[in-house]
């Protein structure tokens, strides 16, 4: 391993023999450029900015109205996503049947897991919808869509018989009754 000091400070870097004809050591006077690899790579293509180049983007105010519509549309897309999946899920449910084998189980797991995952990352979605004016409505639609998705998964589990809803599912937990009388005897010996 190269000595750890090579990366520290950035002022001094020693290189292994692998780099061939490079110098054994080099001193760079521009601080901060060799702090990380990306910087070093950018150093390779380091050229002077052309004249008139500005670091800051030029604000464009001409298409703002259309943009907002786009954002709105985009946000509705996000909010309606789970609802749109439902017909697809229904179709998959129908196709996979109620038998218990590996593929239907995987389907059900996915169907159940996706809405749950989405509900868990609700705050992230809200952040996404922040820019929209109908943020709360969209959030609600998104929530309902996911809940419907999970309800569908639960229904599927139910129809596959995976839910402990019958008395037989609790049979193993019934303790044997305690006997009140002691009885014994037999044929006269």
């Amino acid at each position: 391993m190269t000595s750890p000091g090579a990366q520290g400070g950035g002022a001094l870097a020693t290189r292994g023999g692998a780099t061939g004809k490079r110098m054994k050591w080099a001193l760079e006077l521009s601080l901060g450029n060799s702090r990380n690899r990306g910087d070093r790579q950018s150093k390779d293509g380091d050229v002077m900015y052309p004249v008139g180049y500005s670091d800051k983007p030029v604000p464009d105010t001409s298409v703002q109205e259309a943009d907002r519509n786009l954002v709105e549309k985009r946000c509705w897309d996000v909010a309606l996503g789970p609802l749109k999946q439902i017909p697809m899920n229904l179709f998959i449910m129908y196709m996979s049947g109620n038998t218990i084998s590996i593929f239907p189980i995987m389907m059900v797991c996915m169907m159940a897991w996706r809405p749950i995952q989405a509900l868990m990352s609700m705050s992230a979605t809200f952040k996404l919808l922040e820019s929209s004016s109908q943020q709360w409505l969209q959030g609600l639609v998104y929530l309902i869509g996911n809940l419907l998705g999970s309800a569908l998964a639960v229904y599927k589990c139910q129809s596959m018989g995976l839910l402990p809803t019958h008395s037989s599912d609790w049979l193993a937990f019934i303790e044997p009754p305690q006997r009140l009388e002691i009885m014994g005897g037999g044929m006269v010996m």
């Binding site: 391993m1 190269t2 290189r15 292994g16 692998a18 780099t19 690899r37 218990i100 189980i105 589990c157 018989g161 995976l162 839910l163 402990p164 019958h166 008395s167 037989s168 599912d169 609790w170 049979l171 193993a172 937990f173 019934i174 303790e175 044997p176 009754p177 305690q178 006997r179 009140l180 009388e181 002691i182 009885m183 014994g184 005897g185 037999g186 044929m187 006269v188 010996m189």
Partner: protein
């Protein structure tokens, strides 16, 4: 892995018993797996791994050594169990064994041996058979004429034995020894008055038949061998004689010698002389001898070669421990040697020399056997065999001698001693026990399996927690000391492992002794406590079949009834485990208790209650005394109860619980079932009575449920996933009756299910045109019984199952006094294509594993029949729901598959009982089948779901694991290096 398979088992057992969705998935998967039901037979490499068989023969009645050649190891025996066998006299193992029918039909009347042939008369003179003794093949068999058998003898002509003569009550027949063909048969003269009892031939062309008219005279008839012509017939006055067989013998050249206790005399009579018409009396006083009062003197003579007359020397037994060797010479009887005291005496011949072996007491625990030359009574030097009597055994009662000529022409000998407790001991000089056989085990009456104790160290720890705390510091010290002992034991164990590893594998013997006994990890090794009809108790290690202790109880009447009760198991260290054996004498009705430690076989010092009244029944209560022993109640014929142990504590507890203790008694002769309740003063009150008219049907058996049975699942899951709850009444009795009318059209078998507390008849069923013997099992919520269908002439299984319905009446407590609803009863019957000898059900620790029925077949096989096949819910028409429930469609025929035989080719002759016990593993049930043989094995009704398979590839799995581990390490390192290098580029 166990978890998953546990699911599979649950599925097989109850359809579904889990709650969570994933568990349901596993269960459903498992159902599909369990549909591929496969056989439970053992694999070839599993043979003998956890099973063993021991073969027995029973009480020896006749034993003959093969003296034809010096190297012969054969010992032919015929026993009271109708077994004819050949033993290896060097090892005691069986060469071959023929098991005949039980009862008088197969009774072996006599055994004669000449050369390679053994002639046997079977079934009170029904059959005459000749066996080839080397391989045990039947040479010929002849059916004899009717008539009860009296005697048989080999008949020789001119030094060659050619014939065998059979004497019956009214006829005599002569058969060729090589083919069995009958040469002639003659009726005996005056056979209605004369009891012909003895037959004799001295090789001179004549056969003598001797008969007696009790207290009157003796009749001697002389037959010519060639054609059966009566040559001579005479009668001799003998008013004192009642039986020829017991008091007479023939010695010398055809001289009848009789002994009489009342007149204290010996009588002689030459058979052939025409002139002597009276027996010559020789007073024993003239020989300075006296017969002990009340003792019938016994005469023993020997005829080394059937074609030659017997020797003129004979033994006279004057009292149980006094023999005398006498010689008849020139019509005078002279004593050769007096053996006083002496227990047993026997003659043996090798070549031309006949010797007599005499067993005399040496001290309290040992006997010495000495060899004497028969013709002079002189003692052979250096021929003493010391026989050490087992302090826990019985007295010797038979002596069989095998004499042989040594290289220096002196006579050597080996002896086989049979004792009262049916032990056969084979000894050689100077007292080395060559082998031993415990033939009492051929007649096991009852048995129990008891857990082995923990090792000393485990027990030490257990004890530490069991004791009461006596301060902090002593507790800490005690703890430290026991930890130190554990460490010590572990180091010793390691050292032993290391030490044994250096030795070659063959020399390391895992000998099981009583000291090294300890419970194994899964409690698979247990102590089998066996009670035999002869009154001998055995403690046998269930893993190897080694007899670890034995105890002979003297003075047990032959028809006693035994009941073995485990009062305290090994779980209560430091209290020793305790078993109690109730022995009831059938004649007097009086019972006695024998209390012992089942692990060491030692008699317990605990005082047993005196039982002055006949005992009717016992009841083991779950109530324990302060020493953790369960309380045993004994009910006498006045319905008074004796408690054992009966400490103050116990009596107090009994008073508190008396109102909930009930008995039932079944009197088969009156057809009466009666129930009693215990009162506080230990008397009882009759609370119910059911009378089944004894003139119509007879109660043949009653069975409750086993006390140690656990039922895991309280119901059965239906196809629609509802539950059908089982009717699990712990007080339910199954009563089997058989009709007294045995006509095949009118005979029937009845079954009553009666609540033992209230006497309520829960269910009754009658199987018409059926006949016993009925075998049945009562367990959980079902009764399975087998009977003979006399209409269709076949064996049938019938199963009754009881259910409460879709709802439990009371799920917390069960009281027979509060059961308003009768159970639903389902019944189905099946044809079983074989007769059966015994029936039992498997038993496991928690009752989760599915049940199998163990069916003992007369062929000696034990069939493990899944209870699944005996299910009254088996549908005739398959529906979606029944398929969901995993029910097999109903088929009247019950299959017998060879792979269901748990004992493959290790058949158990005359299997009489099967005992099942749970082990520490839920999947495993220990099985002991006993009859003439004993067979022990383990069965896995739901396969071994809780242990890895025997052929589990540890090497492969661990090498893959390690390989992956190292591959991960190496690739991680490589990735690091590569990343670093890239960073430096």
């Amino acid at each position: 892995m166990p978890g998953w398979l546990f699911g599979s088992l649950t599925a097989e057992h109850c359809g579904s018993c889990s709650s969570a969705a994933m568990a349901w998935l596993v269960v459903r998967l498992a159902i599909s797996v369990s549909l591929l039901y496969t056989a439970s037979a053992v694999f070839e490499d599993q043979v003998g791994k956890f099973d063993w068989r021991q073969q027995f023969i029973g009480k020896v009645r006749f034993a003959l050594f093969d003296t034809q050649s010096q190297a012969s190891k054969k010992l032919l025996v015929a026993t009271d169990k109708n077994v004819f066998a050949s033993l290896n006299s060097r090892t005691g193992d069986l060469f071959w064994r023929h098991v005949d029918k039980t009862g008088p039909e197969g009774h072996i009347d006599t055994l004669l041996m000449y050369g390679q042939d053994a002639v046997v008369v079977v079934g009170n003179g029904r059959l005459l058979r000749s066996w080839e003794t080397t391989v045990g093949g039947l040479k010929w068999e002849t059916v004899l004429d009717t008539g009860s058998f009296q005697a048989a003898a080999l008949v020789g002509v001119q030094d060659h034995v050619k014939y065998v003569a059979v004497l019956k009550k009214s006829s005599i027949s002569l058969h060729d020894l090589s083919s069995g063909s009958q040469i002639w048969v003659e009726n005996l003269p005056d056979s209605d008055t004369v009891q012909y009892q003895t037959i004799y031939s001295g090789g001179n062309g004549l056969v003598f038949v001797l008969g007696v008219v009790p207290n009157s005279h003796i009749v001697i008839v002389e037959y010519k061998i060639e054609d059966g012509e009566i040559m001579n017939k005479k009668s001799v006055e003998a008013a004192w004689m009642s039986s020829l067989e017991t008091s007479c013998t023939i010695i010398s050249s055809g001289i009848l010698l009789c002994a009489d206790q009342i007149t204290q005399s010996l009588y002689t009579l030459p058979l052939q002389s025409a002139e002597q018409t009276e027996m010559r009396q020789i007073h024993l006083q003239t020989l300075d001898l006296e017969v002990a009062s009340g003792f019938q003197p016994v005469l023993t003579s020997t005829q080394p070669n059937p074609a030659q007359p017997p020797l003129s020397e004979f033994f006279l037994q004057l009292s149980p421990d006094h023999h005398i060797l006498l010689q008849l010479k020139d019509n005078l009887i002279a004593p050769l040697r007096d053996f006083n005291p002496s227990y047993l005496a026997a003659f043996a011949t090798s070549g031309e020399r006949t010797v007599a072996a005499v067993m005399s007491p040496k001290n309290d625990t040992a006997c010495s056997i000495n060899l004497f030359s028969a013709d002079t009574g002189r003692r052979h030097l250096d021929t003493t065999i010391i026989y050490h009597m087992d302090p826990n055994g019985g007295k010797p009662n038979r002596l069989y001698v095998h004499a042989f000529l040594k290289k220096d022409d002196s006579v050597g000998y080996r002896v086989m001693v049979q004792t009262e407790d049916l032990t056969l001991t084979f000894l050689q000089q100077p007292g080395r026990v060559v082998w031993m056989r415990e033939e009492a085990l051929a007649d096991v009456v009852t048995m129990e399996m008891v857990d082995l104790p923990f090792t000393g160290t485990q027990a030490e720890l257990e004890g530490e927690f069991g004791k009461k705390a006596d301060g902090l510091l002593p507790m800490v010290l005690k703890r430290l000391s026991s930890q130190f002992i554990l460490l010590q034991a572990w180091l010793a164990h390691l050292w032993k492992l290391f030490y044994d590893a250096r030795k070659p594998r063959s020399s390391v013997k895992n000998e099981i002794t009583i000291d090294t006994l300890s419970r194994d990890e899964f409690n698979l090794q247990k102590m089998m406590v066996m009670v035999t009809a002869s009154g001998k108790l055995f403690g046998i290690d269930s893993k190897s079949g080694t007899i670890l202790w034995k105890q002979y109880l003297e003075n047990i009447q032959p028809n006693s009834v035994f009941k073995l009760i485990v009062q305290r198991t090994t779980a209560h260290f430091p209290h020793p485990p305790q078993c109690t054996l109730l022995i009831k004498d059938k004649d007097t009705g009086l019972g006695s208790l024998y209390v012992f430690n089942p692990i060491f076989g030692k008699k317990s010092q605990i005082g047993v209650p005196a039982l002055p009244r006949p005992i009717l029944q016992t009841l083991l209560l779950p109530v324990i005394d302060q020493d953790y022993a369960k309380v045993l109640l004994l009910i006498d014929d006045q319905y008074k109860v004796t408690a054992f142990p009966s400490t103050k504590n116990v009596l107090q507890q009994l008073q508190d619980t008396a109102s909930s203790i009930f008995f039932y008694l079944v009197d088969s002769s009156q057809g009466k079932l009666s129930g009693f309740r215990l009162r506080k003063d230990l008397s009882t009150e009759l609370i119910w009575e059911v009378v089944i008219p004894a003139e119509v049907q007879k109660i043949v058996a009653v069975k409750g449920k086993r006390a140690n049975e656990h039922v895991h699942s309280q119901g059965r899951v239906m196809g629609d996933r509802s539950v059908l709850y089982k009717y699990l009444n712990p007080n339910l009795l199954a009563v089997i009756t058989e009709s007294t009318d045995t006509h095949q059209e009118r005979s029937f078998v009845g079954i009553f299910l009666i609540d033992g507390v209230t006497g309520r008849i829960v269910h009754e069923a009658v199987q018409r045109k059926a006949r016993g013997p009925v075998h049945f099992v009562h367990s959980e919520n079902w009764v399975v019984y087998v009977y003979w269908n006399s209409k269709f002439r076949r064996n049938e299984f019938s199963v009754l199952e009881l259910f409460e319905g879709a709802e439990l009446y009371n799920s917390t407590v069960f009281s027979s006094l509060d059961r308003p609803h009768p159970p639903q009863v389902l019944q189905q019957s099946y044809i079983f294509p074989a007769p059966i000898s015994t029936l039992e059900a498997t038993l496991t620790e928690k009752g989760i594993t599915s049940r199998h029925l163990l069916v003992g077949l007369p062929s000696g096989n034990i069939l493990s029949l899944p209870k699944m096949f005996l299910d009254p819910r088996r549908p005739e028409v398959v529906s979606e729901q029944s398929r969901e429930e995993n029910l097999i469609p109903y088929a009247p025929e019950m299959p017998i598959r060879e792979e269901w035989f748990i004992n493959y080719n290790q058949t158990v002759s005359r299997v009489r009982g099967i005992y099942t016990a749970p082990s520490g593993l839920e999947s495993t049930c220990l099985v002991v089948a006993y009859g003439l043989d004993i067979y022990q094995t383990r069965v896995f009704p739901s396969k071994q779901f809780d242990v890895l398979k025997d052929d589990y590839d540890y090497v492969l799995i661990s090498s893959v694991l390690f390989g992956l581990f190292f591959a991960t390490m190496i690739s991680k390192r490589l990735a690091e290096v590569k990343l670093l290098n890239r960073a430096w580029r």
